[in-house]
């Protein structure tokens, strides 16, 4: 799940300055679950904008990040999009870009994309993957050291861990390596942690990610 938060209204209004006719496009998947860009949130933002802007149309696309779905769903608003001065996109950064590519309009992002997260329940989202491209979750008992250790350490905890707590935030949160140790210990596989883990391959995330299937 891509976790998003809504930008402050003032920031959105500033970006919309000079644009009168607006189309609002939301996301009915991740942003809807985060309550930042689903049907309800579109209604709410319409209420906030309607006195100052001319709302030409609104739609919550099922998955705006999927160009095929966006293309299909946005057909219903083709005319309004053509006439609009700008589009307010209530989707993650990928959704915003796919909408911009398709419409070739000024697109105002209404959300900030925070992280790839696990949903415990609505309103409780936790980052669990940094998409490093080189998964070591088997060794660490299914707990990610790259995303959950603020230093992304691969060989064990740093020197400042105290009573199983992390220095970042003042020793209130669990040190993820303490959690990993406990989990792997419980699984009877502590030896897997004792292995030297070589440095990460920086090239994996050094350039634009692209995956194109070939035969």
């Amino acid at each position: 799940m891509i976790i998003t938060v809504q930008k402050p209204l003032e920031e959105i209004m500033k970006m919309l300055e000079g644009y009168d006719k607006i189309v609002i496009i939301g996301c009915n998947t991740c942003a809807a679950l985060c309550q930042t860009g689903g049907e309800e949130e579109i209604k709410e933002i319409v209420e906030k904008l309607k006195d100052e802007k001319q709302i030409m149309g609104t739609i919550a696309v099922e998955t705006p990040c999927d160009v095929r779905i966006s293309k299909r769903d946005l057909r219903a608003l083709n005319k309004q999009i053509e006439e609009a001065d700008a589009i307010l996109a209530m989707a993650c950064g990928v959704g915003v870009q796919s909408i911009a590519d398709l419409t070739k309009k000024n697109v105002v992002p209404a959300l900030d994309t925070k992280f790839l997260g696990m949903v415990e329940r609505v309103g409780r989202f936790y980052e669990r993957c940094r998409m490093c491209g080189s998964c070591t979750l088997f060794d660490t008992g299914g707990i990610c050291a790259i995303s959950r250790c603020p230093k992304g350490l691969l060989n064990g905890p740093c020197e400042t861990v105290s009573n199983g707590k992390c220095e970042v935030g003042g020793w209130k949160d669990d040190c993820v390596w303490a959690l990993i140790w406990d989990r792997v210990n419980q699984l009877g596989r502590v030896d897997s942690l004792k292995k030297y883990q070589p440095e990460r391959d920086g090239s994996l995330k050094a350039t634009l990610g692209e995956l194109v299937w070939t035969e």
Binding site: P150, K151, G152, L153, L154, N155, G156, P157, C158, E159, T160, V161, S162, N163, G164, K165, E167, V168, G169, G170, W171, C175, W177, A178, W181, D182, V190, L193, K194, Y196, Q197, P198, E199, R200, G202
Partner: protein, 300 residues
């Protein structure tokens, strides 16, 4: 233990108790004061750890003071490297420079997180961790280079910092073992004020067979104690010692006299602690952070 390049490691190898001082580069403009402090330590210490950006702040680079201490003062500096601010290319640029400057001893730590310091918006790098950096220095020292083929350096002794989390002793032992296997010849603790704590760590390090040097951080004010506690949770000076510092701070005497009195209180603490440390099996030396006082005579 790998090939020995520095005299302090030679002494550790011989089983002798070493006395190290640590000086933090804590100025953005000048290293004069630091060199003055170093000069005052010339005849008292085996080596000087020159640490950089203590507590994740912004100060001058520590390579130059290391070089100056070696060239001008004939001290044996230990260059401190951490993984917070530079990727492997940046780190090794400094390490190659250290080699060219004739430095022979490097101590490696992970580094305090950027969010704990003054410049919280700076990007934390941590491209490699401490174990990986030790391994890479060892490989370069042995002429292996690392991916990309860095030329052979003059050879370094490598130290590492050891944590003291007591909640999972086996996990701490794993870290000690990993650092030793990676190529560390000795370990240095974070600041400690109780010999019992040192004993607990020494039990682990002696089991694994690596010398341990215990760090003592003198406290010049209650504020220093508080700020130290913000970066090292377990670095808590004894309450009676802190009360004495507090009393002196609040007292009517002039600043200069207060400084002298606080220096004496610290001296007493260090004297007692070092005497105790010398009796602990597995403790091979002490490292006294000497930045805050003009002269702290290190007990012989």
């Amino acid at each position: 233990m790998p090939k020995v390049s520095s005299s302090v490691v030679a002494k550790l190898k011989d089983g002798k108790f070493v006395t190290v001082a640590e000086l933090e580069v804590n100025s953005q403009t000048s290293i004069e004061k630091l060199l003055d402090r170093a000069k005052s330590l010339q005849n008292s210490v085996d080596s000087v750890i020159v640490s950089r950006d203590p507590k994740s702040s912004l100060y001058l680079n520590n390579l130059i003071p290391c070089f100056m201490m070696k060239e001008k003062l004939k001290l044996e500096p230990i260059y401190s490297a951490d993984t917070r601010d530079k990727n492997r290319l940046g780190l090794f640029s400094d390490i190659l420079t250290a080699s060219q400057l004739g430095l022979t001893n490097i101590i490696v730590s992970t580094g305090i997180h950027t969010t704990t310091g003054t410049y919280i918006k700076a990007k934390p790098v941590f491209d490699v961790d401490a174990v990986q950096l030790i391994t890479m220095i060892r490989d370069v020292t042995n002429g292996k280079g690392f991916s990309g083929g860095v030329p052979k350096t003059t050879g370094f002794d490598i130290g590492a910092v050891v944590g003291f989390d007591h909640s999972r002793p086996e996990m701490e032992e794993m870290m000690i073992q990993k650092k030793k296997d990676a190529g560390a010849s000795y370990l240095v603790t974070l600041p400690i004020y109780e010999s019992e704590k040192a004993k607990m760590i020494a039990n682990r390090t002696s089991k694994i067979g690596i010398p341990l040097v215990v760090t003592i951080y003198p406290i010049d004010s209650v504020e220093t104690a508080n700020s130290l506690g913000k970066v090292f949770a377990d670095a808590k000076p004894p309450e009676d010692f802190l009360n004495r510092v507090r009393e002196i701070e609040k007292g009517p005497t002039k600043a200069e006299t207060k400084n002298k009195e606080i220096s004496n209180v610290n001296r007493n603490l260090i004297d007692v602690l070092v005497k105790e440390l010398k009796t602990i099996k597995g403790v091979s030396g002490c490292n006294i952070v000497s930045t805050k006082f003009d002269v702290i005579k290190v007990p012989s």
